[in-house]
């Protein structure tokens, strides 16, 4: 797609993004295959930044590869591993590589990953990182110095509509908007009624919301997420539906559910798009899009 | 090793365990002759350091009864 992600967002169309996880190591064959498979089918491809605090290829290098292949990367940036100097430097570096979309995140804590003894940085947080992006666009840096050439970004953030308690989460959501977030990708949502409530609230702000869709691969996975992943709630009827799938057909059922949810979100004009996370099953994203009638 | 006779120190509260030991005597109950009793007002007073000191002094086992 020739359109930039920002143009896609502003065009008013139902925006679709997916995710690419950089591998741990220099063998990128499989990742390149996923990029080729997805780059023309979505409006943006998120590139995770040492996801789950596990050391991998950098999100900038992979975003650059996507750009070179003609795709539209969404650079994820966390505040976990870099102080403000490094973050600013990486932001303007990304910009000169043609990477124009950034998703500002706090980042998981170090000890959930594979380098538990490392120093957690968190010099800035996601709100301040968004502010920093806007500052760099004004031609200045956090040290108060003039830049030789300003940055230019479409900046986004995340929100967790199922967070418990929700009030502090919404307070932060509003701060992110104040700091300059233009779009939000949400944590995985499954309960559409609850999501509609969130959207009713979110609609008072001038931001685009892309609902997070995580592909279910089994009823066990749904139960696991309910018990262990903060901010994710899979309602019982969906767990039952997954469990009802014939043996060996659970993945198909998950694709069907994801497709159906996306179709509902689009047809009922509930939100502005979706962000599909097919963790480990990136190859199935085209099937999900087909099931949603978007292919 | 056959002649090894352990030295056991018992820290006893004078109101409960010491009375119990006394009663055991009156009842002519047999118990290990290896036990040396240290009578205390209350075993709440026993500190870790007393236990360590007992071992330093050569005790083979130590118990607190209260």
């Amino acid at each position: 797609m020739a359109k930039s992600f920002k143009e896609a967002l502003e065009s008013g169309k139902f925006v679709v993004t997916a995710e690419v996880g950089p591998p741990k190591g220099t063998d990128i064959e499989e990742m390149l295959h996923h990029i080729d498979l997805l780059k023309d089918k979505v409006d943006g491809l998120n590139v995770t930044d040492n996801q789950s605090s596990v050391m991998r290829l950098s999100s900038i290098s992979v975003s650059h590869i996507i750009k070179e292949k003609g795709g539209e990367p969404i650079l994820q940036m966390t505040c976990r591993d870099r102080n403000r100097l490094a973050l600013e430097s990486d932001l303007i570096s990304a910009n000169i590589l043609g990477i124009n979309t950034v998703l500002c995140l706090t980042g998981d804590y170090i000890t959930v990953g594979d380098h538990v003894e490392a120093m957690p940085v968190f010099d800035l947080d996601s709100v301040l990182l968004l502010k920093t992006v806007r500052l760099l666009e004004s031609g200045k840096d956090l040290g108060g110095n003039e830049l030789k050439g300003a940055a230019r970004f479409c900046a986004g953030a995340i929100v967790t509509p199922e967070a418990n308690p929700i009030e502090p989460q919404l307070l932060k959501f509003e701060k992110k908007i104040k700091a300059g977030a233009e779009f939000f990708q949400t944590q995985a949502i499954y309960d559409l009624d609850n999501f509609k409530k969130f959207m009713k609230y979110a609609r008072q702000f001038n931001v685009k919301i892309l609902a997070g869709i995580v592909l279910l691969v089994s009823s066990g996975m749904a139960k696991y997420m309910n018990a262990n992943v903060p901010g994710i709630f899979v309602p019982k009827d969906l767990i039952d539906e997954m469990a009802s799938a014939e043996k060996g057909k659970a993945l198909e059922k998950g694709i069907e559910i994801a497709g159906r949810m996306i179709k509902t979100l689009k047809d009922e004009n509930i939100c502005d798009g979706v962000h599909i996370m097919a963790i480990g099953k990136e190859g199935k994203v085209p099937d999900i899009l087909a099931a949603a009638g978007l292919a | 090793m056959n002649e090894f006779e352990p030295k056991v120190v018992a820290f006893c509260c004078q109101y409960c365990a010491y009375s119990a030991a006394d009663l055991a005597g009156s009842m002519r109950l047999q118990y290990s002759p290896n036990v040396r009793i240290v009578k205390l007002m209350c075993t709440g007073k026993v500190d870790v350091i007393h236990l360590l000191k007992a071992f330093e002094g050569g005790a083979d086992a130590v118990f607190v009864a209260g």
Binding site: P120, D125 | D47
Partner: protein
């Protein structure tokens, strides 16, 4: 107060390998209160060292003393005569005390018996929790008296991260989410407005390392 842990016995024993005359110096302040380096703990460590040496048939001569505190020269001076009778000093104070002792008696080997952990409070019997990071730029006025720099694992200044769950932290279900606590406290006080504005990035240059402070009244003397 400053909260510390005692180093594992094996570590202390290994540090003292080859020394026969050892002076153990406790501290009567924080480490006494948190039951790791006061008079009683000096006795316990001495007893352990004696037994361990006895078990291995080694000779060890232990001195035991506890100072009012080890972060003031006037108390450290009291060691002046005693210290000469020993090859090595084991300080059971916090890292500050160990260093000050070592600085004052720089011809002696001074070894630490504790790992200094944090500035905290006595949460309950035998339980201490961290409450201050000594960041030199206190934000407690805005955050309802709950420190996000200390209580939040990530030290976030602008609200909870996405890892918060049922008021707990993503790092451990045992830990409270600082921002849930802050939100609830401010809500109760009717002061939520104090966290609606974006909190600026923290100024790390006010945390000079090592820190140094001179009381106004003493500045001229300097």
């Amino acid at each position: 107060m400053i909260v510390a842990d005692r180093k594992p016995f094996d570590d202390i024993k290994a540090m003292l390998e080859g020394f026969e005359r050892v002076l153990i110096v406790g501290c009567g302040e924080c480490v006494s209160v948190c039951m790791v380096g006061g008079e009683k703990e000096v006795e316990i460590l001495a007893s352990q060292l004696r037994m361990a040496a006895g078990k291995e048939g080694k000779k060890i001569e232990l001195g035991e003393t506890t100072l009012e505190r080890q972060c003031d020269r006037e108390y450290l001076e009291l060691l002046k005569d005693k210290i000469e009778n020993y090859d090595v000093v084991v300080s059971m104070a916090c890292g500050a005390g160990v260093q000050f002792l070592a600085e004052m008696y720089d011809h002696k080997i001074v070894l630490p018996a504790t790992n200094t952990r944090f500035i905290g409070v006595t949460e309950g019997e035998g339980v201490w929790t961290e409450r201050c990071r000594a960041c030199s730029d206190c934000v407690l006025a805005e955050t309802g008296g709950i420190c996000p720099v200390t209580i939040c694992a990530k030290g976030l200044l602008n609200g909870p991260c996405g890892g918060t769950n049922d008021g707990k932290c993503e790092v451990s279900k045992e830990k409270d989410c600082a921002w849930t606590l802050i939100y609830n406290r401010l809500n109760k006080l009717g002061r939520l407005d104090s966290i609606r504005e974006i909190f600026p990035a923290k100024k790390y240059n006010v945390q000079t390392r090592p820190g140094r402070r001179i009381h106004e009244a003493f500045k001229e003397k300097e």
